[in-house]
């Protein structure tokens, strides 16, 4: 297998190297890639979509259809991890452990019995280790700022590097940080599984729904200029706003999917303490 792998890898490499023979030099301004489509994007973006960040404009408008599917891909991945890993066992047989938050006393509850509902107790696994105080505190302190930054990244995607994907990932990372610094149960309490899963879908629905709305308003799918009549602005500005709307959808979808995937993978679908 090793030799076969070597042969395949080498032959692919040689083929690809040979094929680069006719490529333009690196970073050549006269290369076809830089002269065929990209000048149009660079020169017309402002005029046609009113978005200074060309990457955002191309991403969410010129090639907005790609991006919609990109969001769908990430959604599919979340769904795939969910269906593959999630275990819907009501409760594993055996005793359950609860920790009294104030005293740190662990209580073992017999099978079949229940603890009176109380905020003071937290469910723990047999392998529970207390979270490090420093990490826990610093993370709690950092998370709001991370989230704030994420919102900035989403909202400012028109003018600076950023956008829905980047912002969504940062948002997701903040929740995942919570799960890592404390435990999964804590983060799931903040972001319930059901809410998370539904928001995943909602994020993509915002994107595809905006497109479908354009279709209902009489233009082609994803032609945001149709939104002008709804938003009361000119078609070019409508495109800019349309991009913002879908970026928000992307942000939600990416955030929730990241969390969803992390939750499922880290707890092997059991939604217990996690890593």
């Amino acid at each position: 297998m090793k030799i076969i792998g070597l042969i395949i890898a080498l032959s692919t490499g040689v083929l690809l190297i040979c094929a680069t023979g006719d490529f333009p030099r690196w970073a050549d301004p006269a290369s076809p890639a830089s002269t065929h489509l990209s000048p149009h994007f660079i020169e017309k973006t402002m005029e046609e979509t009113s978005v200074p960040n060309i990457v955002t404009a191309v991403l969410a408008d010129y090639r907005g259809y790609d991006t919609m599917y990109e969001t769908a891909v990430i959604f599919t991945a979340g769904l795939a991890c969910f269906i593959l890993l999630r275990i819907f066992v009501k409760e594993e047989p055996g005793d359950r452990l609860y920790r009294h938050l104030l005293t740190g006393v662990t209580v073992r509850v017999k099978e079949g019995t229940k603890l009176p509902p109380s905020e003071d107790f937290e469910r723990i696994d047999a392998t529970w280790t207390p979270p490090d105080l420093i990490i826990k505190t610093i993370c709690r302190f950092l998370i709001p700022f991370i989230q704030l930054f994420a919102l900035y990244v989403i909202a400012h995607g028109h003018h600076s590097p950023g956008g829905g994907f980047q912002g969504g990932v940062i948002l997701g990372a903040s929740i995942i940080l919570l799960a890592i610094s404390q435990d999964l149960r804590t983060s799931v309490r903040r972001m319930r599984e059901k809410l998370d899963a539904v928001l995943c879908a909602v994020g993509v629905i915002i994107y595809a729904g905006t497109g479908a709305l354009c279709l209902l308003l009489g233009l082609n799918f994803l032609d945001y200029s149709a939104l002008a009549s709804v938003l009361h602005c000119d078609p070019v500005t409508a495109r800019s706003h349309g991009i913002l709307i879908v970026e928000i959808g992307v942000g939600i979808a990416v955030m929730c999917t990241m969390i969803w995937i992390y939750n499922n993978v880290s707890s092997i679908g059991k939604y217990d303490e996690g890593l």
Binding site: T20, P29, E43, P52, V58, T67, G78, A80, L84
Partner: protein, 134 residues
């Protein structure tokens, strides 16, 4: 020899990406451990991302975010020259490819976990031996 170096230098980005790609591909085919294969897969995908992004480069140009961008559009807008900004399209494409790579990674890890749960190992030959035993 000098010519070869010239060729390599003029297109060094391609040589780098192809080397990376070969490493990834080799790992995917030849490695016995399923997670190492996933790592190889990621190297492979990253190599391609590198390749695409490098094609967007343009000598003497800056990132594709327009200056004086805010506000005006239409007649009053500044004239923009294509040579001043690098090609935005590969970046857009790679944003997609990154997402796809992440998605694939997620699913691959989920599958690897399932495999591990079932066979208690991630070495492919051991798994196959276990299947044969049954």
């Amino acid at each position: 020899m000098g010519d070869l170096i010239q060729i390599v230098v003029a297109k060094y980005n391609y040589w780098i990406y192809i080397t990376l790609m070969m490493i990834g591909l080799y790992a995917m085919i030849a490695k016995n451990n399923l997670v190492k294969k996933i790592v190889g897969m990621n190297i492979f995908q990253t190599a391609i991302i590198l390749f695409y992004v490098s094609t967007g480069a343009k000598r003497g140009a800056t990132i594709p975010i327009l200056e004086h961008g805010h506000g005006e559009h239409g007649a009053g807008a500044h004239v923009v020259h294509a040579v001043d900004y690098i090609n935005p399209l590969p970046h857009v494409l790679m944003l997609t490819a990154i997402v796809v790579a992440v998605a694939t990674l997620g699913v691959a890890l989920a599958l690897a976990i399932r495999v591990y749960n079932r066979y208690d190992t991630l070495e492919e030959d051991e798994i196959l031996a276990k299947i044969r035993e049954k």
